[in-house]
Amino acid sequence: MNTFWIILTGSLVAASCGFLGCFLILRRMAMLGDAISHAILPGIVLAFLFSGSRDIIVMLIGAAIIGLATVFLVQLLHQSGVKSDAAIGVTFTALFSIGVVLVSLYTQQVDLDLDCVLYGEIAYVPWDTWQLGGMEMGPRALWGIGGVFLLSLLVVGVFFKQFKLCSFDPALAAAIGIPVMLFHYLLMTLVSLTTVAAFESVGAILVVAMLVVPSATAYLLTDRLHVMLFGSMGAGVLSAVLGYFLASWLDSSIAGAMTAVSGALFLLAFLFSPRHGLVGKMAARRAATLGAAEK
């Protein structure tokens, strides 16, 4: 049963991250996902300190606020003339430092292990259950990430056309009257929520990996956005399942193993994708040179 809960949580994290990650990489904001996932640390710690509870709702709010603040600060710095990658770097390292300082100073009160936050311990998920009126409702993390996943599906489903247009041609989107900035912040809110829902149970590293790697894999396999979305979710879930078994075979970190498997899947796509793969391209080039030589 525990195995099932762990795999289910991992798959949900992978699916919701992969789903949102597609939009991130299409909009060239992959590093922003990385930045958010590090920067929300102070949000979580402050939410702990103020509320004194590990309630997922409080943490979601705290982290979502800091996540949006990160995006806002990056935007602000960029507008005041800092290159965008430098703006990201300055913002998230500063916020992360504040987070680490807070954890170190209040380490007795907070009961938050830095290593655990960074690479997470998904193996503990089944024991941290949610009680509702004396009823056992299953792992708390599962409800958190599941809820956020449904919310993202709903929001992106309703505004699919707008998100699509904003990702591929923001100038056109702005010209026909779509509030591009609103959708930018809406997407970033979803990313922040997903990040924090996954954060405590699986750690920052799995979140960053799942935001980028499965969607990059899917990006190599298709040219259609909705296929890419499902492909990314599929690659994510496959990484989660295979990663779990790899981890139990090696007796190592589950989140790390899921990341490693997603990397391996990407490598397969990188080499063997029918249109964008390295092997396919080489074969095509070779055929072309052979053809030219025969003539």
Partner: protein
Amino acid sequence: MMSIWLALQDPNTMWVLAGCVLLGISSGVLGCFAFLRGRSLVGDALAHAALPGVCLVYLLTGSKSIGLFMIGAGVAGLLATYCITAISRHTRIKEDTSLALTLSVFFGIGIVLLTYIQHNASGNQSGLDKFLFGQAASLVFRDVITIMIVSIVLIGITALLFKEFALLAFDPAFGRGLGFPMGLLDGVLMLMLLMSVVIGLQAVGVVLVAAMLIVPSVTARYWTDKLGRMVGLSGLFGALSGALGTLISTQQENLPTGPTIVLSATAFFLFSLLFSPSRGVVARMARFLRMRSRLLCEDVMQALYERLEEQAKNRPTGVLRGFSPEQLARTSGKKPAAVRKALRLLQKRSYVTERTLISEEEFWTFTTEGLKEAHRLVLNQRLWDLYHMNQNQYDGLAIDVNQEELVPQLSDEALSQMLAQLRAYDLTPRLADPHSVSHLLKPSKQGGVTL
């Protein structure tokens, strides 16, 4: 102050301080080139990628030698660099995605290896995570010597290859044209970045080593436009952050050194962002406000001029009475309060004067000097309008449309041609002629102006 002095007496603190200052200098200097090359986040990727290298070295050799760890981290970093370039070169995936992808996959593999070691390997492996999460306080004499040697080598190479790196940062294609091996230089720069990341890891940890490369160089950029000065300043900011962070962290128990150093660097950055003389937010805000008030004044002068002009048309010989701020507000589309403010500013420069007639209503009109200035403004504005209306006629004049003044850009011939055209459109500013203002203006006894 006393406690800082006490902390400095401790030889251990002195070593940590020396190490962090040196790290600050070398990463500040190298960070400039990474920043200008648009590779600020490469440090982040290299730092994460070091993890599997370190773990593999430990798995293979079983030793915890810092030197071996550095080699492992270096090899893994090189591999990661190669992956980043290979992915963005061979597929349609953009550089930022390939960076994030490589970073997370390497780190994930590293975590797998780290936990595998922790669960399976015998013996004491507690040093590993210290190496990764950084503990400046645990730097000892030998580490500082290593840091010192590496930093001096890095700074020395930068000094030797300064011109080449400058080319690489600003115009690699031009450099290639000159016959410099740009690919090789880029590789050398990456290798140097990697070395500074590796020596920084132990002090400030994986995430924060990236900050040491980025923040000082972004800060330095606010203070100068010259590369040499920028590199120097960046090294200085790095050193100051290292020193300040170390000293602050000795003052409070449980305050980790790495994040404190990064926060010091961030404080320098914020100060520069706000107060740097040319690019700072405050300076730019002041410029903006000055500009806005100047434009307001100009608009009000133009409005007054045009109303007076109209009046003069209807009363060819009479005294021009002037206008109230409300009337000017209607003409210029500004708020009456803004117009009043502008009039007061213009009064200070004695461009306009106020006259109160019997009805006790305010009336504003130009002084002789003000009329000259307003005439210049209006003429300039109308010539611009004319230029924009008939742009194709004036293609031969080589006009820079970004400049404010049109008249100085025109030859006498072109000016008289345009003035003739203005006359044809009946747009010539009537109240005073640019070449003979003085004899057309006769200040009347009432203080107004007659034609």
